[in-house]
């Protein structure tokens, strides 16, 4: 039995939660990476819960911390929908580009992807291998070339082809490097000379601790993130930092990554996520 149901059962049964149980609950909440501040808030809310509606009340408290923006993918009704994938190094951008392209293709739309990581060794080849696997055209420039010009060419090409979607991979960058953030802004700006960028998805690795908040904040300020892909949820990490991000920055989680294959991407399910935090 998950801790959550244990907690509910206890409240329901005797309406007395021993101090040790509260400590357990605190431990579980913290272990999910939602952070000490949110944990304290939730514990305070928990203490006020009455026995009959305990489950509902607690779910509600947790759910009330999700943002209420739409989780629907943003699209361009008049042409190619352009999606940019951004994030810090190793969080799963390239894999997510492939997964998302595969998802789009399966749902019957046409899609091309752009190998915008011209920096990391063999990043272009990595996406090309994916392209072959999922039979999607990969637009690339030369290694160590200018990422903005690759993205620009890709946007032009996607428009000419009348592709329904263009998904742009970008190099990993730490949000505290302002030159790299400026480069990312330039990529977006240059693409927008051709087509609007409809969606900017930030990959957040589920193992990320409290630094995820700073990542989301600064990437948002820089390229206006419209949604989160919470990756690597197939591991032991519960990805609670995403709740903190939704709560503090009002950015919706749109997708979750649950493995290394192209099919391991799913739309975000708030209920399952909230339950998983305390699993």
């Amino acid at each position: 039995m998950g801790l959550f149901s244990k907690f509910i059962a206890k409240i329901k049964g005797e309406n007395s939660f021993a101090p040790a149980d509260w400590q357990d609950l605190e431990g579980e909440l913290l272990a999910s990476d939602i952070g000490p501040t949110l944990t304290r808030e939730l514990l305070e809310a928990g203490r006020k819960v009455k026995s009959e509606n305990a489950q509902e009340a607690l779910m509600q408290t947790l759910t009330s911390h999700l943002c209420d923006k739409s989780r629907q993918p943003l699209t361009n009704p008049d042409g190619t929908t352009v999606v940019m994938i951004v994030g810090v190094n190793g969080t799963g951008k390239t894999t997510s580009v492939a997964k998302l392209a595969s998802h789009i293709k399966k749902s019957g739309s046409s899609v091309v992807v752009a190998a915008g990581d011209t920096f990391r060794a063999a990043a272009v080849e990595q996406l090309q291998t994916w392209g072959q696997r999922i039979a999607v055209e990969v637009i690339s420039g030369k290694a160590n070339g200018d990422p903005a010009s690759v993205a620009f060419d890709a946007a032009k090409r996607a428009k000419e082809m009348k592709a329904d979607y263009l998904v742009i991979d970008t190099a990993g960058r730490l949000h505290n490097k302002s030159d790299l953030m400026a480069e990312l802004e330039k990529v977006k700006r240059v693409v927008e000379k051709i087509s609007p960028v409809n969606e900017v998805l930030l990959t957040i690795d589920a193992t990320t601790g409290q630094n995820g908040l700073a990542q989301a904040k600064i990437f948002s300020e820089s390229v206006n993130v419209t949604g989160i892909i919470l990756t690597k949820l197939d591991g032991s990490a519960r990805g609670g930092i995403a709740l903190a991000i939704e709560h503090e920055l009002d950015i919706p989680i749109k997708w979750i990554g649950t493995g290394e294959s192209e099919g391991d991407l799913a739309p975000f399910d708030p209920d399952a996520y909230i339950q998983g935090l305390l699993a």
Binding site: A31, Q126, S178, D179
Partner: protein
């Protein structure tokens, strides 16, 4: 985003200081602050609890012998810092070299932790010290991980053993084993085995990691972990400890701004030493691990050593050397140099982050948060809109040139004027630098003087080695 422990301390302790003697209650209150700060730094709850208990006990003991509130407050801070350093570095050590080479180092860790890049950094680190490493490409899982390692190896002149192209094909255990045999035959004295990222909960892949270990008998298994990791560090490090075991830990992506509290959790729970720190995408961004620096970082105290190093990296590579050479020739500081400095500056990372590294900056938090980073970007835009002649000799900047520049950079003419004025001031300052007042790279920015950093002197070339592997590396360089 969080108040650092040092700013918490500043406020807690200033109230302590104004009181005569610190009581048991004061210690408890302080410990509650420490607890909160450590949790915000991603230290695992169980580690936090035992740490705080230890601090409370040590503080109570120490206070009995202390007189004034001021001393007591400082004493507690010192106890915290010393305890952190002890956990982080109590068992620090270097890589054990095998009696009979090659020394085999195996890397293990989660997906995306930075293993492949680290493999290259380790190889470079040891090759620079005269070893002859061989890189072995046993990540056959992630698309083009093998190609990545090959590119990395080539860029540092270290050979890569890669009989399988990877992308899901080939047996990583066989590759690892063959790699070590190849190294023995060719007299490489070190083998670094890159492996695929795997999750702690993936039983099959954990078993495979164990099989690789049994096939190559590593002298060191290094657990590679991202400094941004949160509470999962506990479960994952335990899973790797149980699944393959490891002898040391490497923290990666330390050039980010994560507090890195997971380091404390891992060191304290696994009792394995943190051996290396990886801090950038360049293969030279790598060093042995310094517990004191990490302690300061977790405490949010301002990491002067790292700041100085970042400054050095950003400046001495190109900028400082170029500037120093110019000075030596008696040339003037130009707007082009100024632009170089600005680029170096933004390369160093965000200004507010940099300022935040300075000790005592907790009290300046407001000013730091308000620091206008756009200033650098705008200034850059202006200089970039100038012609080379204008950059070299700003005296030619008449009214029409200035308004052209303003238009080109999308700034007001007054901003252009302002920049030219600031530049003249910087130029004057640079003249003072010639007299040795401060390092060249810093002066133009109007920053406070930094610990002087000398351009590193390239080691003298030794004669070529008789060992074929070593010789190959020497010739590649």
């Amino acid at each position: 985003m969080f108040d650092s422990l040092s700013s918490r301390f500043s406020s807690t302790f200033s109230s302590l200081r104004s009181r005569g003697k610190i009581s048991k209650n004061d210690i408890d209150a302080t410990c509650a602050e420490i607890r909160q700060a450590l949790l915000e730094s991603d230290v695992a709850l169980e580690v936090v609890e035992s740490f705080v208990a230890e601090i409370a006990e040590k503080s109570t003991t120490a206070l009995a012998t202390m007189q004034s509130g001021t001393n007591q407050a400082n004493a507690i801070f010192e106890i915290v810092n010393a305890s952190l350093i002890e956990i982080l570095g109590g068992s620090a050590r270097r890589v054990r070299f095998a009696k009979n080479p090659p020394t085999v180092i195996m890397l293990a860790g989660l997906q995306g932790a930075g293993k492949t890049t680290l493999a290259g950094k380790l190889a470079k680190f040891y090759a620079d010290q005269g070893n002859t490493p061989l890189l072995v490409a046993s990540d056959l899982q992630r698309p083009n991980a093998v190609t990545q390692l090959q590119v990395v190896g080539q860029s540092i002149g270290v050979p890569v053993f890669a009989p399988e192209a990877g992308n899901g094909v080939g047996d990583p255990v066989k590759v690892a084993k063959a790699g070590v045999e190849f190294a023995k035959a060719k007299q490489y004295n070190m083998v670094i085995v890159d492996t695929a990222g795997r999750l702690g909960v993936d039983a099959d892949l954990m078993k495979q990691a164990g099989d690789i270990r049994d096939a190559v008998h590593p002298d060191e298994i290094l657990f590679v972990v991202d400094a941004m990791i949160g509470q999962d560090a506990v479960r994952t490090s335990q899973a790797f400890l149980d699944g393959v075991g490891f002898d040391g830990v490497v923290l990666t992506k330390l050039d980010g701004d994560a507090r890195g509290g997971a380091a404390l959790s891992i060191a304290s729970l696994t009792k394995r030493p943190i051996m290396f720190a990886s801090s950038g995408e360049k293969l030279s961004d790598f060093d042995i691990f310094y517990p004191e620096r990490m302690a300061s970082r977790i405490l949010g105290m301002g990491d002067v050593a790292t700041l100085a190093e970042q400054a050095k990296k950003a400046f001495d590579g190109d900028t400082s050397e170029k500037l120093e050479a110019k000075f030596a020739r008696g040339e003037d500081f130009t707007l082009e140099d100024f632009l170089d400095q600005l680029s170096a500056m933004s390369k160093m990372g965000s200004m507010s982050k940099l300022l935040g590294m300075l000790p005592g900056s907790a009290g300046m938090k407001k000013q730091i948060d308000n620091f206008d980073e756009g200033e650098i970007v705008r200034t850059k835009a202006i200089v970039e809109s100038m012609t080379p002649i204008e950059r070299r000799d700003p005296k030619v900047l008449n009214g029409s040139r200035r308004s052209r520049i303003a238009k080109g950079s999308g700034r007001a003419v007054s901003e252009v004027n302002n920049l030219v004025e600031r530049f003249s001031a910087a130029q004057k300052m640079m003249k003072q630098v010639r007299n040795g007042a401060m390092p060249a790279g810093m002066a133009g920015m109007g920053l406070p003087p930094m610990p002087a950093v000398k351009a590193s002197i390239a080691p003298k070339k030794k004669s070529k080695s008789g060992n074929p592997a070593k010789r190959a590396i020497e010739e590649a360089q």
